[in-house]
């Protein structure tokens, strides 16, 4: 009984995480400009990855491997700090080198 509850919870977290990752990748293809594409990936990738890793943490905590839970927690905390910082570094380099933002009415770049 507890087995099926844990399985259902893990599946729910995994499917929600994969939905956000797919949205991030589709946004990378669809948006018309560099800055808007980084909006899509910088936010959706972070949350999608955290949800997938939370699902894996629940699965592992039930099946009893305590060190894997700690290592997954390390990846999650590192990812919350590292992904926005990497996005900001790319955007700062692009703005200083002169990539112009897109306005409504321009063509796709």
């Amino acid at each position: 009984m507890m087995d099926s509850v844990v399985n259902a919870l893990t599946t729910a977290f995994l499917i929600l995480g994969v939905f956000f990752m797919l949205t991030g990748a589709i946004g990378l293809l669809r948006f018309p400009d560099f800055y808007t594409r980084l909006h899509a990936t910088g936010k959706c990738d972070t949350l999608g990855e955290v949800l997938i890793l939370l699902g894996c943490m629940i699965y592992t905590a039930y099946h009893g491997m305590p060190f894997v839970v700690f290592k997954l927690l390390c990846i999650i905390i590192f990812f919350f700090i590292a992904n926005p910082t990497g996005t900001h570094a790319i955007v700062k380099a692009a703005y200083k080198t002169g990539v112009k933002p897109w306005r409504v009415g321009d063509e796709r770049r």
Binding site: N7, T11, L22, L29, L53, F78, T85, K96
Partner: protein, 90 residues
């Protein structure tokens, strides 16, 4: 039952990597390509954790930690070089 779920999730993430590869190949200019490579590195970290549950081998997660750190450092150094023209300014 849960093994099929992990397998399907892993294949979906691999399809997402293929979608980002289009932006890495086409994207006009170098910044689109740097952003796409960062995205691919992120998804590879998640894929390594999922592969650990498919093959039931607990050694993949150490590789995932190391690759997450490597991807972050690579992105930061690449954008520093594109901004200034050199990496260490001393």
């Amino acid at each position: 039952m849960i093994e099929q779920v992990f397998l399907i999730i892993g294949l979906t993430i691999a399809a997402t990597v293929l979608l980002s590869l289009y932006r890495a190949a086409v994207g006009p200019g170098v910044f689109n390509r740097v952003a796409a490579v960062n995205v691919i590195g992120t998804k590879v970290v998640v894929l390594l954790v999922i592969v650990q549950y498919i093959f039931k081998n607990p050694m993949f997660i150490d590789i995932a930690i190391a690759y997450a750190a490597l991807n972050f450092i690579g992105t930061i150094i690449m954008s520093k070089y594109l901004e200034r023209g050199e990496v260490c300014s001393q």
